[in-house]
Symmetry: C3
Subunit: 185 residues, 3 copies
């Protein structure tokens, strides 16, 4: 038998105690994913209670899904859009003034498809300051989106994005430079 998911196990991956994860599962469902809760202050408080580092002025819209807050860092004034899914099996480090638009997915988990045991591969994601991840775009693990990079709506990247550059497509390719007109870089 080729792939055999019964062989799957990942004893080295330790994302936190079962109790902590069970409590977060409930809090996430009730306070974050819940489409009735528009109150960002409550969400930031709950996330911090579970170990997330969250800066000032961070906006968190309704129906956001976060896997493990203790693996999450967000700088100042960043925005997490409606229905965003931060599936952070690994560490996700979001800088300041980052916009993650509605429905985007940060996807840290992967599998070793060359192994019959389909081993879990976890990769961190880093979004540097000023990055914009477009609506329903996907960023996979082990990716760094450098300062002020843009991934357009619905686009998918599993590679690093260069600073001040715009990427689009599946897989995302360089489209053009991002020039900020009202500042000197």
């Amino acid at each position: 038998m080729p792939v055999d998911l019964k062989q799957f196990s990942n004893p080295e991956y330790k994302p936190g105690s079962k109790v902590r994860r069970a409590f977060w599962f409930l809090f996430n469902a009730f306070f974050l994913r819940n489409p009735y809760n528009p109150f960002g202050g409550i969400k930031r408080g709950v996330l911090r209670m579970f170990g997330a580092k969250i800066g000032k002025g961070v906006v968190i819209k309704p129906a956001v899904n976060i896997k493990y807050p203790w693996f999450l860092t967000i700088g100042d004034n960043s925005w997490i859009g409606e229905n965003v899914w931060i599936d952070n099996l690994g560490k996700v480090d979001i800088g300041s003034n980052v916009c993650i638009s509605q429905g985007a997915l940060l996807l840290c988990g992967n599998h070793d498809y060359k192994k019959t045991s389909f081993d879990l591969i976890v990769g961190d994601i880093q979004l540097e300051d000023g990055v914009w991840i477009g609506a329903k775009a996907i960023v996979t693990g082990n990716v760094v989106c450098k300062s002020h990079a843009i991934l357009t709506a619905g686009s998918i990247t599993s590679k690093n994005l260069d600073a001040y550059s715009i990427y689009g497509g599946n897989p995302a390719e360089f489209v053009r430079e991002r020039k900020l007109e009202d500042i000197v870089k």
Copy 2:
């Protein structure tokens, strides 16, 4: 500092009073997004109560998310599929006999990524009669999908689609003509 989301403000954008938006937020969550509510009549009634213009025979499936009904017009016999997201910061005008398949997104909001203040840009969307937006496809603002155009499943357009034409991919490109076999155009 390059992009600075603290500078973001959009005083000229007036999508309705806070009270109206707060009430709609609750009604949307309870009647539209709610996956337990299969009753299209109730949904049409609630949407009309908040200012949507909705024709005869319009079908609205469960778990639909609509931003501002007062910016929404739908003609006769059109279908809004399950999990469709009409994020109409701008006006969305859906003609008659239009099919928006499950999970599709009409995305009116954008940002001026050349400004450090990341200004909001709102664009209207128009879907003319007979258009079909495929499952999980995305249409961005300032787009007109002309009569009987088709956007295939999962495809993304930020440009106008020509009449009786089929588009696919990200970004969507012309694939072939749509020929209706049983009518004379």
Copy 3:
């Protein structure tokens, strides 16, 4: 008038009695789609009660949406990820050791866009043993993903995938072979 959705009807398509479908609609919303329910055993039981054939060791994550369980077969040790949508208007046959990652869509329904009546077209989907459908990927009807094929995250296929082959993009194209290093095929 070209397309006229009032003409739409599909009397030959018989997906089960109205009562059965109404009950499943509620059970699906309460036990499967519900983001608060992490208990796979309950889900498997409910699915079997409604006619699904489900093997041993099948994992079903929260917020899964299944249209008609009586059209669903899953082999042993397969995984249905969070937010997966099995929109099985037709028969969906999932083999053993299959991984359907989070947010993926199996989309059996289509329409005859050449007809003014926009007739429903239903196609079955078969995922053979060892297949991996990536996160937020889409498989349409009448598609067979052969043994151990992979569709990468966010990719879309409406064509068959060859065995031990990796596909990506929209539309998905062959990327490379999948070689399992620790077995002899």
